[in-house]
Symmetry: C2
């Protein structure tokens, strides 16, 4: 199946086949396999898996939220870029390469972020983009003395903010939230005040997969006159995002997870159009210069989102990003979201049946609307278990202190992978 | 010929064959061709050209100082990295990828920069690295109020410094130098004083190719208690560099020019070991964190140069950098420098004979010791001439206001390319 799948997203019924029980392990394996097969057979996105390189069909890959799989189209595209463009066109290829960061940014912004034109670029790493935007936001609120962020935010976000706060003499107010459910609705409202310059938050938490309420949290930040910066790394390509409708100010996100852009692929950066005249990147590079090749004596930023480019963009990585984004757009984010919810529901059902009796607890929200395309299982031996799973060809990942993450990118994950992953965990724990 | 060529670097005698004159154009072409052929025949590095992809043998490529050619080894390496590592190993490849930025940095530092171990990494763009180092240097000299830089410095360097100066209320003192000869020996000494926190300078100027005196300029900066940051973008891989012996503090440089790392390849960054405890990156990312996967609550930088990593490194681009660096190291920087001097001498000889009578002047130093592996020709119609040359399959580049740059990377440039380039210019101007 190719073509846009929006409209074909009815979710297969869960639990329709006979349930196995822990008392009846023989029948369980058979029943489990047949349930997974039935779900895979009715999966409207199932054909997308064939669009990716799958060297080892027996590998149970549950870590696409760390590094997404390689699209077949990317192999072709990179071969052309390397041999024909770099090798053949040489420097002349810059005539068509120059605008790629903004063109591919636009593709992400319009298809996956609910952004308007000229609000998104692909450039640098998530860390560097977060630094650029957070520094600019703090510059724009010079009289305010506080940053608000989540205590269980992804580490690079926390470390960047810590550095900015230290160099400027600011305070960080850490939201404690809930390790499983994420930020309670009232917590931001309770801590925010007019000393806050900037709120930084992930839309989907990296450990639990909990989803924040973007419009509500954004509104609370704005009530206090603060700017808000969303980290979309674990959300983009897994769940619909509406930056414009939700009133978001700034965003960054990663392209090597659900967007399948490749190891260390460049990140994207979003600045709401109405804020663009007010904010200025701290890293003024020549790719942000209005008349770049005039090489004039003073920095004069380009209009729009291109002002946020810094150095020369890496073209190999950019081309890889585009192919992953195009596949995601082709499948349609609504269909992807629907499958992500079904995959994670299936995983939780299996946890309840098979892993809870063995000492595992759920590390993700039970409400599918509050959960990204990942499920975390908590167990005191999670680190050792993860290593043993990997040794058996089942690849989730471990996150401190006690979480095994099953990342379930809907374009490449089968229900059979979820079943095999849980089955392997149950065997190890039994 | 493979193997290290140091010791085989005797420079072919120039002018040994009969000189053509402008009065005798027919014989000139023949004579010019035979001189170039004789020089190519005795070039000890001539076999290295076969190690690169050359799709169009008639293309006269004189812009390897903007984008170096594609090594054949890189095609193979990237194919393995994309298909087998990303496609096959998936996230498990990070076990061996994690240390690549420091390992490949070390390869550059030890072979090409005269650095000690643990002083060089490959990370981010030249622009971002320059920002990180300049910001850290200014933080380390908080009582000082001035930055010194060259007025004809490469634009991204000037723009980065302008941004840093503006945000900190500092002044930039611009060295005027000489458009052709570069910085006169006394100019820095004349302007520097104890208000200066940081001096930023390119070792090889991007437009003229003039080479600065690294030990002497560094000593002048240190006399005033300032730190110095060298931009090695147009020097690395073209000329020997001795950062440790010259006393340099900080350096950045580009890998997509003479190191053939590919379009927008990541840059390198050097911090002298003795300075490492004193300086701190402004961009505190998770790749700079001591125990990265503990994901601890506070930033605790890794010891050594790895503290300067920020976000997740782009692995495709890093692998490409390594192959280019290995070729350069295999050829040997002394042999590369010797050929670079001979190539540029040949170009200047042809300028004097054939282009000076047609209104061209030399835009690079006449002393080969003061010149990188490029020659600039100045002409009032340089922009139009460059476009017409490119249309004829001769690819130099234009730099404002009036320079045509012939970039002559010694591993890939033939004397025949220089002759053909000058011949085409002479025809267009005649």
């Amino acid at each position: 199946m190719t073509g846009n799948c929006v409209g074909e997203t009815e979710r297969p019924e869960l639990g329709a086949t006979r349930r196995a029980t822990a008392e009846d392990p023989e029948s369980m394996d058979v029943a489990l396999r047949s349930r997974a097969e039935a779900l895979d057979a009715t999966d409207p996105l199932r054909a997308f898996r064939d669009r990716f390189v799958i060297d080892d069909p027996d590998l149970v890959y549950l870590d696409g939220n760390s590094l997404g799989r390689l699209p077949k189209a990317t192999v072709q595209r990179l071969s052309l870029l390397i041999r024909d463009e770099w090798g053949g066109e040489l420097v002349r290829a810059w005539d068509h390469w120059l605008d790629e960061p903004a063109r591919i940014g636009e593709l992400i912004g319009l298809n996956l972020l609910g952004a308007r034109p000229d609000e998104t670029i692909v450039s640098d790493s998530t860390t560097v983009n977060l630094y650029k935007l957070a520094a600019a936001a703090l510059d724009a609120r010079p009289a305010r003395t506080t940053i608000v962020a989540a205590a269980d935010e992804f580490p690079t976000d926390r470390y960047v903010l810590e550095g900015l706060a230290e160099s400027r003499g600011l305070t960080i107010r850490w939201l404690t939230g809930d390790a499983v459910e994420g930020l309670p609705p009232g917590e931001l409202a309770a801590v925010i005040d007019e000393s806050v310059a900037l709120v930084v938050l992930s839309l989907v938490n990296y450990r639990s997969g909990s989803v924040a309420d973007l419009p509500a949290v954004t509104a609370r930040a704005h009530d206090a006159g603060a700017l808000i910066l969303w980290d979309l790394s674990h959300a983009v390509g897994a769940t619909p995002i509406e930056l414009e409708a939700g009133g978001a100010d700034l965003a960054v996100g990663c392209t090597y997870k659900y967007l399948n852009g490749g190891p260390g692929a460049p990140a994207f950066l979003y600045v709401r159009q109405s804020l663009q005249p007010e904010l200025r990147t701290p890293i003024q590079g020549w790719f942000g210069q209005r008349d770049q090749f005039a090489m004039g004596p003073r920095y004069d930023p380009r209009p729009g989102i291109r002002a946020w480019l810094a150095g020369t963009p890496g073209m190999l990585a950019l081309a890889a990003v585009e192919e992953g984004v195009k596949l995601t757009a082709e499948a349609g984010i609504e269909a992807i979201r629907a499958k992500g919810m079904t995959l994670t529901e299936f995983a939780i059902e299996l946890l309840d049946e098979r892993l809870s009796p063995l000492g595992c607890t759920l590390g993700s929200p039970r409400d599918p609307a509050r959960r990204g395309a990942q499920v975390s299982f908590r167990h005191p031996d999670a680190r050792r278990l993860t290593a043993e799973l990997i040794a058996r060809g089942v690849v989730p990942d471990f996150r401190e202190p006690d979480s095994i993450r099953f990342g379930l990118p809907p374009l490449t994950t089968r229900f059979a992978d979820v079943a095999a992953g849980v089955d392997a965990m149950a065997e190890l724990l039994a």
